[in-house]
């Protein structure tokens, strides 16, 4: 098992290297000049040149790439051109809201999606199944900004139950932070629910018709036990894959929800950085997102072995 994990870790290196090269060059060849945004509208050409030199942006692209790569290998993602702080610091500062948001969205997604998908499969082609299909189609089709706006106007403005936007960290207000997370987490959760419910439904449907399930039932194993021990466990591999990938997508793709709810996470950091061409931050957030994907894929692969003993020896 240890060797398997090591192999997977080594395989991650070329992936991250390709991402690093692509992120650097795409970012740097995109039109737009951060220096002119920093010095302001009315700076002289001399001031522009001075700032460009100060930020090291006057160097040829390959040299800048070499310098950046040297630092990245040592774990230093550089310093933000605008925030006047190291990129790793900016990322760490904004990681808490993104992780909490993604976790709570995923939690709601699992809490609603897996039972819904299972129920739909168990009542295949009945009313519950149709209801689940409609709910999951709605969850996937409604864009998150629309869902967010609807939730804010109903539960924030009309009912006044939750804040319309904003974020408070746990260190600041303790469990009061949950109050700020409910609406954004629900926005993400409904989307996750839809994805997980659909996958659970089809995976469970496939397993339900297998011989071992029929045998278990014929032996008189209680229905709940059949579902939990035989069906769901065997359907787990595709569900876990979707769970993991959708969670990775959540971590890297919460930016719309972060923007609508004014949550200072990594998504809003990346968007602001792109708008003002803050190269080190853009590169850092892309590398970070890629790292998350690689890490979660690794976890998924390891978890396969937990669910399917046949995979342990491979």
């Amino acid at each position: 098992m240890g060797q398997y994990v090591l192999k997977r870790l080594l395989a991650a290196i070329p992936v991250l290297a390709v991402v690093a090269v692509t992120a650097f060059f795409i970012t740097n060849v995109t039109p737009g000049d951060p220096v002119r945004l920093i010095v302001g509208d009315f700076a002289t050409e001399a001031e522009v040149a001075q700032m460009r030199a100060k930020l090291g942006l006057d160097q040829p692209l390959p040299i800048r790439f070499g310098l950046w790569l040297q630092r990245v290998v040592r774990g230093d993602l550089g310093t933000s051109l605008f925030l006047q702080m190291p990129v790793t610091h900016a990322l760490v500062q904004r990681l808490e809201p993104t992780i909490l948001l993604a976790l709570s969205g995923q939690f709601l997604g699992v809490l609603l999606g897996i039972p819904l998908g299972t129920a739909a499969a168990m009542h295949h082609r009945k009313l519950i199944d149709a209801g689940a299909i409609v709910a999951s189609l709605a969850g996937i089709s409604i864009p998150s900004f629309l869902m967010a706006t609807l939730l804010v106007s109903v539960f924030g403005v009309q009912m006044g139950w939750f804040p319309v936007a904003g974020y408070r960290s746990f260190s600041e207000v303790g469990f009061g932070a949950v109050y700020y997370l409910v609406l954004p987490a629900l926005t993400l959760g409904l989307m996750q629910m839809a994805i997980l419910a659909r996958m659970t439904r089809s995976a469970v449907l496939e397993v339900l018709h297998q011989d071992f399930v029929r045998t278990a039932r014929a032996k008189g194993v209680p229905r709940t036990s059949v579902m939990l021990k035989h069906v769901l466990r065997n359907a787990a591999v595709p569900i876990v894959t979707v769970f993991g990938l959708s969670f990775a997508a959540l971590l890297g793709g919460t930016w719309i929800v972060e923007s609508v709810f004014a949550i200072p996470g990594t998504g809003s950091l990346a968007v602001t950085a792109i708008l003002r061409r803050d190269y080190p931050v853009i590169q850092g957030t892309i590398l970070f997102a890629a790292g998350i994907y690689v890490f979660i894929n690794l976890i998924i692969d390891i978890s396969y072995a937990a669910f399917d003993p046949r995979l342990r020896d491979r």
Partner: protein, 522 residues
């Protein structure tokens, strides 16, 4: 005798009546939450051209001078000043009652240290610096600045509300500690003192109980200011719909940049107080005079005659409550407003004459590039409206709407654009700031001919004319020359919409959202 004494006593009481009545209304305490669409890189207004930093931090920091309601500089941390007869030496007498948020009194040493940092770091200071010979303290409460020549815009720059121009005073030890680096320890003299900043979340400030208020009439940042609320929290909310929803739900007391198209809905909503901010900004069309066809004055005049600012205001801004025609480069009521600027030219489109001028100038039909940001609706809608107006007189037009970072890069190239919309703050403190924008090879105009040198000469005269009445005549000449030489085309002035909840009392509608003398009636 007793009746006389009673009468005197009554007169004495009456003389306090208005103030007492005003004070009786005021409620102290509470937290005022203001939702703003800000991007704060840091909180040092001397180190950024982002106007949002100043808007927030000028609740904490104060200027030696601030602007009164005619946008005339008035002493604020200074008590008075004296200008030498040759117009080169300013001696400032400082107020002796000013206390910093760290408890120490403000002296000339603090002003001197702050001023030297201002000259080195602040955009306004850097503009002034080449003319400053010496700046020094003369005793504990006198500060002297000596210029190499008369420098008329000095006090206007010191009190400017434009980003990166105002001079604020900080303790000398803070200046010594941070030098030219971004200041992260915020000690000022204002009614609010710094509490905390969470990037992209909020900036919080609390009432400074030992604040020594100025006694003059209040306007903007000048005069008698007071912090009635215990805490002022600027919440950073970039989504317009969320700011508006927050005021509706009562979660925020204030929202900046509300949707103008919902003005009538807000007016009929008892839970919302809408504020139309005027003067706010003016819209200009910037002309690239570095190459054909706009290096030709005749083509620029054709451009001026082709544009209908009234149609543009209606198409771009819409509701007439939010825009107005104004030929002057300063709003009505402003010290530098010129009533007869652009007479017979401004907002009098004449497509036939424009077409004739264009033919006479030999315009060859090469495409005119209008370059603008697609994120800003005033700019993007303006570009599309302008396209149809220009095509109607024979210009061949191509509209390029890109993201701001790309626009900024492309417009800096001499061949990167022909026309570009820009917005300037309407109540600019001084016409001299336009020297950096229009004149020989200034900003992105690429203007370099006899006409640009005529414009330079006007600005040079403006710079050394310290007498206000004489300077007004120079400013008047400049605004007339603006219409003769057409370096830009003035379009219209436009306003902003802000919202408060009915609990917000004492709010005054200034170009920046300010929360002095504001209380919460809960």
């Amino acid at each position: 005798m007793t009746r006389k004494l009673t009468l005197l006593f009554l007169i004495f009481l009456l003389s306090f009546a208005p103030a007492a009545a005003e004070d009786a209304d005021v409620e102290w305490g509470g937290t005022l939450v203001a939702a703003n669409a800000l991007t704060l890189p840091h909180l040092d207004p001397d180190k950024t051209t982002d106007s949002s930093v100043g808007q927030i931090m000028w609740h904490i920091y104060e200027g030696l001078f601030e602007l009164d309601e005619e946008y005339r500089p008035v002493p604020h941390l200074a008590a008075d000043y004296d200008l030498s007869d040759d117009g080169t030496v300013y001696a400032f007498e400082l107020r002796e009652d000013v206390v910093f948020h760290n408890g120490e009194s403000m002296t000339a040493a603090d002003v001197e240290a702050s001023f030297h940092r201002y000259l080195e770091n602040n955009g306004g200071g850097q503009t002034i610096a080449p003319y400053v010979e010496e700046a020094y303290q003369d005793g504990d409460y006198t500060f002297v600045v000596e210029f190499s020549q008369p420098y008329a815009p000095f006090l206007f720059f010191l009190s400017s509300v434009v980003a990166n121009q105002k001079f604020v005073v900080r303790p000398a030890e803070i200046i010594e500690e941070f030098g030219d680096d971004v200041i992260t320890e915020h000690v000022g003299t204002g009614p609010f003192q710094f509490d905390s900043w969470q990037p992209d979340q909020y900036v919080r400030m609390t009432r400074f109980d030992d604040y020594a208020a100025h006694s003059g009439p209040y306007f903007g940042y000048s005069g008698e200011k007071q912090a009635y609320v215990d805490m002022l929290e600027f919440r950073i909310i970039r989504e317009q719909s969320v700011r508006t929803a927050g005021v509706r739900s009562g979660e925020y007391h204030f929202a900046d940049q509300a949707p103008r198209d919902q003005y009538s809905i807000f007016q009929s909503d008892a839970g919302i107080e809408p504020w139309v901010v005027s003067p706010y900004r003016q819209s200009f069309l910037i002309v690239n005079m570095g190459h054909e066809p706009f290096d030709n004055l005749q083509v620029r005049r054709a451009l001026q005659l082709a544009i209908d600012p009234e149609e543009m205001g209606l198409a771009v801004v819409g509701d007439p409550d939010f825009w107005q025609l104004n030929p002057s480069l300063f709003p009505e009521g402003h010290l530098w407003h010129v009533e007869d600027a652009g007479e017979d030219i401004y907002a009098q489109p004449d497509p036939e004459q424009a077409e004739a001028l264009l033919a006479e100038a030999g315009y060859d039909g090469k495409p005119i590039i209008i370059l603008n940001s697609r994120e800003d609706e005033i700019e993007s809608r303006g570009a599309l409206t302008l396209q149809s107006q220009l095509e109607a007189v024979g210009f061949n037009v191509e509209v390029r709407l890109l993201d701001r970072a790309t626009v900024v890069e492309q417009r800096s190239r001499e061949d990167g654009y022909h026309l570009h919309f820009s917005q300037f703050l309407s109540p600019d403190p001084d016409p001299q700031v336009y020297q950096a924008w229009m004149g020989t090879d200034k900003w992105i105009g690429n203007w370099d001919d006899e006409d640009s040198r005529k414009m330079d000469a006007i600005f040079e005269e403006m710079l050394i004319t310290t007498d206000l009445e004489e300077r007004y005549e120079v400013v008047r000449n400049w605004q007339h020359a603006f219409y003769d030489l057409v370096p830009y085309v003035k379009l219209y002035d436009f306003n902003q919409l802000r919202l408060t909840t009915p609990t917000v009392q004492g709010y005054s509608n200034f170009v920046h959202p300010t929360f002095f003398n504001v209380w919460l009636a809960e």
